[in-house]
Symmetry: C2
Subunit: 695 residues, 2 copies
């Protein structure tokens, strides 16, 4: 009779439980099937003993553990605290500020921390241990973030669109705020807290002044109130011309007393709404945005004025180094360096300069930005892009932790070997008092948050690396796959491998051997290597690949632009010689003859073709691998990813055919065997690209 009752309920249930639409991200708290493990976890799931000053963040930690343990192991956590069998929150002032310790002790799991945030992160870590089915019976684990400020930057616009967003519209419903709090805001905060993200910049760096009006500050406050119990601080991007736009001042010159006063008053107003407001992110004098240079002032002048305004409230100014002018004879590679390096030491103490990972703009592969290691007196934040602007939007599988890690591990050699970019950013190379990292978010209103389901792993992986850059992409891929996709070991292995190879695959069929910036000009999707004319020379493709009858690549040695000279000698040595330069970076630094023999034994032309063709077959492998996990991952997710891989294959063929046909017009050489010449013509490929330029 019991059985029948259960079957009845299950059959009703089956109408209500939906297929997995990806909404829950990696926070899947479904009942684990490993009974031994469940029994183990249950032994510590009777109660939560809060021996810690209560706070909203502590309550979040409690709530999350209850939710997680009920779901994962079917536990019922009661209010009755006993001597053993539960989870204990304890204060430990010896631990780093946001760090935590998890120890099995006297039949309990003790999470200790100095701050409530530490307890929150420890709680999520414990849940992750359980989700990934690690043993906790004798757990002894401690962890603390290597970087203080771990940010998501949203490029969300005021009218609901997202610049370079490929997963629907903005999560923030400005018209509906502050009265209407979308339940999704809470889910967003949970997800971030679970991976240690502690700050978000809500709006696009191409910023509307609107956000600084009272009407919008009320909306921002509403979001800040939602995020606060999750340990997340809110920042805003600001429009540097706000004093003129909003305050009707005659200009926005940062040295004008009335401009300073306007900002001081505005900062006071902002903090009256949001007492723990993080500060301002600024894109100035870049791509048409206003800035201090309009008034003959430097970036430091602009940043310091803002820094003074937020200083009384412990606010920060994060000033972006992404600047470059239209100079047909120059090399965009060097511009941010030349602009900012001389300002080192001139910024106020609460200013951080935020530098993109590479010198151009979030290409599939870039050498690390030469500013890292070059500004010992100025805290530099790393800016990564999680959204796939140049990496295939939401139809391409590209696991970005591989890219992030490659950058972080690059050695600047500024204080000798081991002065990695990671160690510049975490402050250990130059003893920065402030440390920060930013990821441009890939979230949007799509039900699964990120468009491509697998791109959830990039959000997850960014957060994990922001917390601890020593984690490997392998570990991230494994954790995420276990938590999100499947408990089946072989499928885990297949998926992990797909993730780990995916970025190199994308590089192969789009930008092999160090090619860069040859994508479609307006939408940054697809290829346009033939692009010769644009509003600015440095927005064309030929500016970057420089293909001619002799060869291809941008000579950045001392014979060329000498961008390489911006790096330390050891770095120069590693890339200076085209014979020994890693093939990954070859065309970033050298103009190489089509017939040059490479370390692979092939000529440059043959190698280039080989990579384009190999990239496509690698996508086919991704498709075949995915078919093998059918049945072991949710059906809806399976179909979603399968469809996107098919789209990626179509796009890979487009990249391959367009690029080899176009570069062939310079190399004048046949497609090498065993590859087969594209069946489509270059003209046909150009037409395909044209479609995307149509309004």
């Amino acid at each position: 009779m019991l059985k029948k009752g259960i079957i009845l309920f299950l059959s009703i249930l089956s109408f209500h439980v939906k297929a997995d639409d990806g909404y829950k991200l990696w926070l899947k708290y479904d009942l684990l099937k490993n009974n031994t493990k469940v029994a183990e976890y249950k032994r510590f799931s009777d109660f939560i003993d809060v021996q810690f000053p209560i706070s909203p963040i502590i309550q979040t930690a409690e709530k999350e553990l209850k939710k997680g343990l009920s779901g994962l192991v079917g536990a019922t956590i009661t209010k009755t605290v006993k001597t053993s069998g539960g989870i204990v929150f304890q204060k430990d002032n010896a631990l780093p500020k946001e760090g935590f310790k998890i120890v099995a002790k006297n039949g309990n799991i003790v999470i200790s921390a100095q701050t409530d945030k530490g307890i929150l992160y420890g709680s999520f870590e414990l849940l992750r241990q359980i989700q990934t089915e690690n043993s906790i019976a004798s757990i002894n684990l401690s962890s603390s973030p290597k970087i203080q400020l771990r940010m998501l930057n949203h490029w969300d616009n005021v009218l609901g669109t997202i610049e370079r967003g490929y997963a629907g519209s903005s999560l923030w419903k400005w018209y509906e705020l502050p009265e209407n709090i979308d339940p999704r805001y809470v889910e967003y905060a949970r997800a971030n807290a679970s991976i240690g993200i502690n700050a978000v910049v809500l709006n696009n760096v191409n910023a509307s002044a609107r956000f600084l009006t009272k009407e919008y500050l009320e909306k921002v406050k509403a979001l800040a109130d939602v995020f606060r119990p999750y340990g997340i601080q809110v920042f805003l991007s600001i429009n540097f011309a706000s004093p003129k736009i909003l305050g009707k001042l005659k200009n926005s010159d940062p040295l004008e007393p009335e401009v300073k006063k306007w900002w001081n008053d505005k900062a006071k107003e902002v903090y009256s709404f949001i007492p723990d407001f993080g500060g301002f992110l600024v894109k100035a004098n870049s791509e048409g945005e206003p800035g201090p240079q309009e008034f003959g002032r430097t970036h430091a002048d602009g940043a310091n004025m803002l820094a003074e305004a937020v200083k009384p409230f412990n606010g920060l100014v994060i000033w972006r180094a992404f600047v470059y002018g239209p100079n047909p004879k120059g090399d965009r590679y060097k511009e941010a360096f030349n602009e900012f390096k001389p300002l080192d030491g001139q910024f106020a103490k609460n200013v951080i300069v935020q530098v993109k990972n590479g010198p151009i703009d979030f290409m599939p592969r870039e050498p690390f930005h030469p500013l890292f290691g070059a500004m010992p007196k100025t805290p530099l934040a790393m800016e990564f892009q999680i959204t796939q602007e140049y990496l295939g939007f939401s139809t391409n599988l590209v696991f970005l932790p591989s890219l992030f890690k490659e950058v972080l591990e690059s050695d600047t050699y500024v204080n000798g070997k081991g002065s990695t970019v990671a160690k510049v950013v975490d402050g250990s190379v130059h003893d920065y008092p402030l440390t920060a990292i930013a990821g441009v978010a890939n979230t949007g209103s799509d039900r699964n948050w990120t468009g491509h389901f697998m791109s959830q792993a990039n959000w997850y992986g960014y957060g994990r690396l922001a917390w601890n850059h020593e984690i490997s992409p392998e570990q991230i891929a494994e954790e995420w796959t276990k938590m999100t996709l499947t408990k089946e070991a072989n499928s885990q292995k297949i998926i992990r491998n797909m993730l780990l190879t995916s970025r190199e695959t994308y590089v192969n069929f789009t930008n092999p051997l160090g090619l860069h910036h040859i994508m479609g000009q307006n939408i940054h999707f697809g290829m346009e290597p033939w692009l010769e004319k644009s509003a600015r020379p440095d927005w064309t493709a030929i500016y970057y690949h420089r293909a001619d009858s002799v060869g291809i690549g941008f000579d950045r040695t001392a014979n060329g632009s000498n961008a390489l000279g911006l790096y330390s000698k050891d770095v120069q040595n590693q890339w200076n010689n085209p014979q020994t330069c890693d093939l990954k970076y070859l065309l970033w630094f050298h103009h190489v003859s089509w017939n040059q023999k490479l370390s692979t034994g092939k000529t440059l032309w043959d190698e280039l073709c080989t990579r384009y063709y190999t990239g496509v077959t690698e996508v086919e492998k991704l498709q075949n691998d995915w078919l093998k996990v059918k049945g072991n991952v949710d059906e809806e997710i399976f179909e979603d990813v399968k469809g996107r891989l098919a789209a990626q294959h179509r796009e890979a063929l487009n990249w391959r055919d367009a690029c080899v046909l176009y570069f062939q017009t310079h190399s004048k050489q046949p497609i090498p065997t065993p590859f087969v010449k594209p069946t489509r013509t270059l003209e046909e490929m150009k037409k395909i690209v044209e479609i995307y330029q149509l309004k």
Copy 2:
């Protein structure tokens, strides 16, 4: 033991069943709680006996009934057909094409129809009867659509935004198509089929030529394949300049043989992808869109050329009449009429001219468009706007069936009394061979589809009226509330009443007494009655309200623009005299002195103020009424609507204060008792509006 087992399962269940996020729309198939009714419905839920030629649409009907009956009454429909106790699909060629009959006969429910679409609509009707808990034991009901083509027009752009959309981004993920089929496409089709919508125009009338490329036709085909089994035909909006843009012809003159050939070939190509493609929707020579007038040709020349191209495939051309030129001395009210009336009789047989419900542009209230009744030889389609461009976006509760119905019941008198707009559109006044109605969709990627949860009722209500314009708003409100929100009788009554009063409330606090087009210029949100300058005179507010020291309103009598002269005598008589003109329309047709006594006993100025103030208190009533249904509607929905009503209240106060303060600068009269003068100044109100104009 059974009980304990069930409780255990329920407690696990409670972790999985989410609060209602609105995704399921009105197709909620939760178990009914009325056991008597459930028992009755169960008597007919044993099997489905398909005595009808099988087709994908028939399979859809079967699937939907199974899903619905399993959910609503817990039935298990088996494959074993018996003599009684089930549902029977039967063919009846005597019924109208898409109509159906539902009859209880010999212990079965028999759904009969001439076509499979009829069976599908009958199946949804039966489910609606069950969802609203009507008795079916002796059901005898037949229904058929009064209008052939019942369309949704999507103003969705190629890059994922929606023009005048307030519920997230486009449902159509163009980059992911055709490989990736979002499961949401099916849910969309189900919802439409359930209310009888049989055609959708996928893209914005401000159309990208991109949709006619092979690449995009493959994507469109993928959607058409999803929609076909739901009886939904796909149309595209086209860019009239496509021959030049895509075909590289020297121009797009509709009388040029090569242009004609281009369209003929393109039509053939389109139909090779989608054999049942519906046809083209065209916005031409309107607001900057290209059209035949560039080449000295008429709208009929343009439409007929396209009509010829799609004719071999039984395709249609739907040509919009929304045209108006910038003429400071003219009256926009008359322009579409003057342009199209002379063309009556000149359009090809497969052309439909689509006319907005009113002469200006989807205002909260408009007189019916004077073209209705004026083109006896040209099938006219009605264009309604479901998205709330001028009706408060997604933060205002406005039940639009009240508006739709008011327009449909307006009498043109062209063939004597009773020649209603509805009867023009359904073809009975002029014997149109083709009949059509369009609603500009309010759907988007928001989880609940429409932003404001209650706006789902507008989608639903549009479909129900498109099927049968004789249904009352009261019936629609009742059906929708029962199906979607609550089974509790008192809450139903409260919500129904909220819906039915909501549109008049919105009119009161925004555009009372026939005011129109006084909204913010760029975003169409909020008020800007002081707007004097714009790119075009007819984009200002003063062009429409004409307030001065004497009075307010647009004189459209013979003394003024004589737009009234476009209507039949009986219509003129009803609106010609400011003493007897319905106050709803007063300022549409008359410039009335501030001191004029109205039928309410108040002066115009006092009545205007009264309506603005009353509008606000009516919003407060909506807020209070909503509080009463707490506990009887889903908690998540309750909070969502509560928040939006609070936002609406804030906005209503803005409208009121801004409008009375601004119009007071003309009337020079005090705010009448018992109302209290706004605490804010006109300058403050202008600043609030300015914020929305900031980029």
